[in-house]
Subunit: 302 residues, 2 copies
Amino acid sequence: METPPLADVIINSFDGYSAEVRKAARFVLDNPRDVALLSMREQARRAGVQPSTMMRLAKQLGFEGFDPVRDAYADAMRNPATSFEGKARDQQRLQDLGGDQALAAKIVASVTRQLQSLSAAEQLVRLSDAATLLAGARRVYCLGLRASHPIAWQLNYILSLVGDKSVLLDDIANTGSDRIRFAGKEDVLFAVTVTPYTQLTLDIVDYAHKQGVPVVALTDSPVSPLAKRATITIATTTESPSFYHSMTPAFLLAEILAVLVAGQGEKETLEALRQVDSYHASLGTHATTRPHPTATPSKEIQ
Amino acid sequence: METPPLADVIINSFDGYSAEVRKAARFVLDNPRDVALLSMREQARRAGVQPSTMMRLAKQLGFEGFDPVRDAYADAMRNPATSFEGKARDQQRLQDLGGDQALAAKIVASVTRQLQSLSAAEQLVRLSDAATLLAGARRVYCLGLRASHPIAWQLNYILSLVGDKSVLLDDIANTGSDRIRFAGKEDVLFAVTVTPYTQLTLDIVDYAHKQGVPVVALTDSPVSPLAKRATITIATTTESPSFYHSMTPAFLLAEILAVLVAGQGEKETLEALRQVDSYHASLGTHATTRPHPTATPSKEIQ
DNA sequence: GCTTTAATGAAACAAATGTTGCAAGAAGCG
DNA sequence: CGCTTCTTGCAACATTTGTTTCATTAAAGC
């Protein structure tokens, strides 16, 4: 909490307060954390003030009661990186918005908060360890079904840009996972699933685990059923204000993981990327400033 | 709070807990801050558990009641030395980190910054407008190839959970886009591509545009070739400190869009979600609390 | 100095909290 | 199958919570 919430407001109007309210305000200024962590009465006790005085302070600050004040401080503690000024502004603006926009903004805020926790120390260590494991593997099998598909796909896609050792365990006609049969100790299985855990994913991981294949798990808790079979577990949250959980944090983790793995084979990566470019150039996969020969010039396309 | 209090203890004895206590333990593991900031009953509610279960967890951890548990977490939040609150400290730490971890942290920081800009006012308006357009469509065609695949897939997936009007323009044997032939003015094409723009995507959008199909574009610039054919353009950045651009912001936008669209048909959404549940229940798609019959008990797996 | 206004503390309130005990149910065992 | 043990939800408990009200006190204005 770099800039405690309401600090400016309190300081500005401090002189206008009465003696007792000042004591309360002073306590809030000096012990921002306790505002969130202690009961109002306990704070009153410590500030040497009546509970009603805390109440009066809250109202003078423009709140209905003390709970909103505590909420403000609690929010600030939940998300240490975002300064309160920005948050207050956002909060204010949120109330002016329609339902859709407000929900959208809420989701962004929630996911942003979760992303920040991804750079916690152990998280980084795990990512780095997982990257090393993947980079050393003969083959990387990527497994993510249903909601987790984009995550597994993304890892496989990026790894495929820089080499041919990645295999996506997904295919039509229910043959998706067949190739896991060829995995061994020198390979690695990258598996993703979150609540509600896909049974098939667990089954496949279980099989691979028994075959001695190291498993890198990306899931939503260190105690998820996936984590139990994993060599390295990378955990993230999927919380969201909406009915559907967000896969965005997991998606970012997969991207980061892929980039780290690619980075470990520096020379090969560069060489591979050069090949990708010339490959696509000759196929006309991408639009250039001038579209490829068979298409009409872009200006006329408009 | 780098290492949340009791985390090790909980993880270690997790397997010894009963199903309900596990739910509680899991919540504590996943939401360490809320343990300090919320009332026990509120935590029980969020964990989907009875207050008594929280009590049981506390006792199994060797405490008299829940208050001592909360105190432990509160202490961790108060003391900046053991918490990861300090931005400055993070910065400091970054410099001590190895290349991989530093890069990972940088990517997180970069993407976080970009996400925050997604809740800019105009962005929200566009999202909301796009959602309305999509919600009113007879059919929604989702198109995203190569790097943009996860984004289009995600929108289609979520929409498919709550209805049958979404079509993913992707299929094997180069027949992916054929179904766009049936699109008309009452439908909407949701198309995604970023630099380097996939030519095929542009071609398909071009075709649809000529047929009078409204287009919602998700791309990396308001002046991208995709934007020119679009009714509504949602723009985001794909910047990243690494060699590969990040699709995470676009991914989040697609998630939000999907949720907004689903939210517009409130009753139908709820009904559909209920159907989804019973459908998967009868197919056994998802793992239940108890591991499925064929798997060995978790203790032995570890 | 008397009246009006504001500030303070104490008591009372309903609501929510942490906690306990118990009965119904499920799981495990012989 | 019956018996026991463990698990789970429910209802009740006494506290504590946030909040309101009101009488008392201090200050300010004329």
